[in-house]
């Protein structure tokens, strides 16, 4: 039951299949599993349903899998940064399911926590509510949303140990912790893979039980979408 793998390609071995559902962590390009996405592209796996808050940009993140037409369907809250996405979607080559961002996050958390459904007021009275069960609690109306799980979750953390315990850094945390819980198999890439015992047990964001395989990232680019700055002294 050794969790560490030498690199992304071997870490994906034996768990991929055409038509599978993948979750990929990240918000925009922040905190995305770069190595694992590249390896998934190179695997040639087809007809993927990808659950990810965004769809990357044309030449980075999940955009890489759109270029190669490996994605059949996206479940996301916002895909505005990707021209190839737009082209495929308008050409009906790609299915798309929009979820409000908080509903998406909660559905993934629910999937990992054995909650098959929960009620939320997000989206009541909008297109999102169509066809969903409505129920009143204390005089307010809510809609039923269901839990989500994935065949494989790909997550990115800052530090990890050989037991699979993970620590995230700043806003690169985002969807990664919930996705780690919602994958039948979860594979993590970390910037620093340390010996078990080096992480403070009170500070572990994702306990190792949720992580089946782990690699240390190589050649991370960590691209920035909107480099916005102020002048020194402002």
């Amino acid at each position: 039951m050794k969790k560490p793998y030498p690199e992304a390609t071997s870490a994906l071995e034996g768990v991929l299949f055409d038509g599978m559902t993948i979750m990929a962590g990240g918000f925009g390009l922040c905190g995305i599993p770069e190595n694992l996405i590249t390896a998934l592209r190179d695997s040639g796996t087809q007809n993927i349903t990808a659950i990810s808050n965004n769809a990357g940009i044309d030449d980075f993140g999940l955009g890489l899998l759109l270029q190669t037409r490996q994605i059949k369907k996206m479940v996301s809250s916002y895909v505005g940064e990707n021209k190839e996405f737009e082209r495929q979607y308008l050409a009906k080559e790609l299915e798309l399911e929009f979820n409000p961002q908080g509903t998406l996050a909660e559905r993934i958390r629910a999937g990992g926590a054995g909650i098959p459904g929960f009620y939320t007021k997000t989206g009541v009275g909008t297109l999102i509510a169509e066809g969903k069960e409505h129920k009143d609690f204390n005089g307010e109306t809510y809609i039923l949303e269901t839990g989500l799980i994935a065949d494989v979750s790909l997550v990115k953390a800052w530090k990890g140990d050989k037991e699979g315990n993970l620590i995230f850094r700043k806003t690169a945390r985002n969807f990664n912790p919930m996705m780690a819980t919602a994958g039948k198999i979860t594979i993590a890439e970390v910037e620093e893979l340390v010996e078990t015992g080096e992480l403070d047990p009170d500070q572990i964001h994702t306990p190792g039980i949720f992580v089946q395989r782990i690699i240390q990232s190589k050649d991370l680019e960590k691209r920035i979408e909107h480099r916005t700055t102020r002048k020194q002294g402002e």
């Binding site: 918000f27 925009g28 390009l29 922040c30 905190g31 808050n53 996301s76 809250s77 916002y78 895909v79 505005g80 940064e81 737009e86 979607y89 308008l90 929009f98 409000p100 961002q101 908080g102 509903t103 998406l104 996050a105 909660e106 993934i108 958390r109 939320t120 007021k121 997000t122 989206g123 009541v124 009275g125 909008t126 297109l127 999102i128 800052w158 995230f168 850094r169 700043k170 806003t171 690169a172 945390r173 985002n174 969807f175 990664n176 912790p177 919930m178 964001h205 960590k222 691209r223 920035i224 979408e225 909107h226 480099r227 916005t228 700055t229 102020r230 002048k231 020194q232 402002e234």
Partner: protein, 213 residues
Amino acid sequence: MAWTREDMARRAAQELRDGFYVNLGIGIPTLVANFIPEGINVTLQSENGMLGMGPFPTEDEIDPDLINAGKQTITELDSTSYFSSADSFGMIRGGHIALSILGAMQVAENGDLANWMIPGKMVKGMGGAMDLVAGVKKVVVIMDHNARDGSAKFLKECTLPLTGVGVVDMIISDVGVFTIDDNGATLTELAQGVTVDEARQRTEANFKVAEDL
């Protein structure tokens, strides 16, 4: 001379109260952070998982692991904490954020909001907007009072797909300020140089006019 974007942001900042936790949308709402009144301490939430958002970084401070919900690089403060997207939207959905300021394509006189989708055009997605308007205690819209073609955006009923039903509590536009509650909409302030008549002309929604106007 109606209000500029800065005027609107400055006016929106007057809705802030000391100790408020606030979420600012992309665009003009982001400017509100520049006009926080003296002596008022507010904490900005970024729905991608951060409380206590600081200013944009200097070139030296840029950190790819530290962005806001608009995917812009930002900085942290002494008070900052980070959390997951599930925890972030638990905070939002659970009613812990006092105020959300965001943009709009259309607002209806009952507070319906449309700001995420134009049928027939490529849809980018609602992001966290539906969660914010459903969960945050007070929702303030900052918007140009009319569309580029001059058509009204403050309407009897929204014609675009909704982001939320009856969620908007206040509109701040170049024309002035409207409040919306169970009794309908009320024009409560006019931008300098704008008359009640002009406000009516540029608005489709029914609204009352506050007595002091």
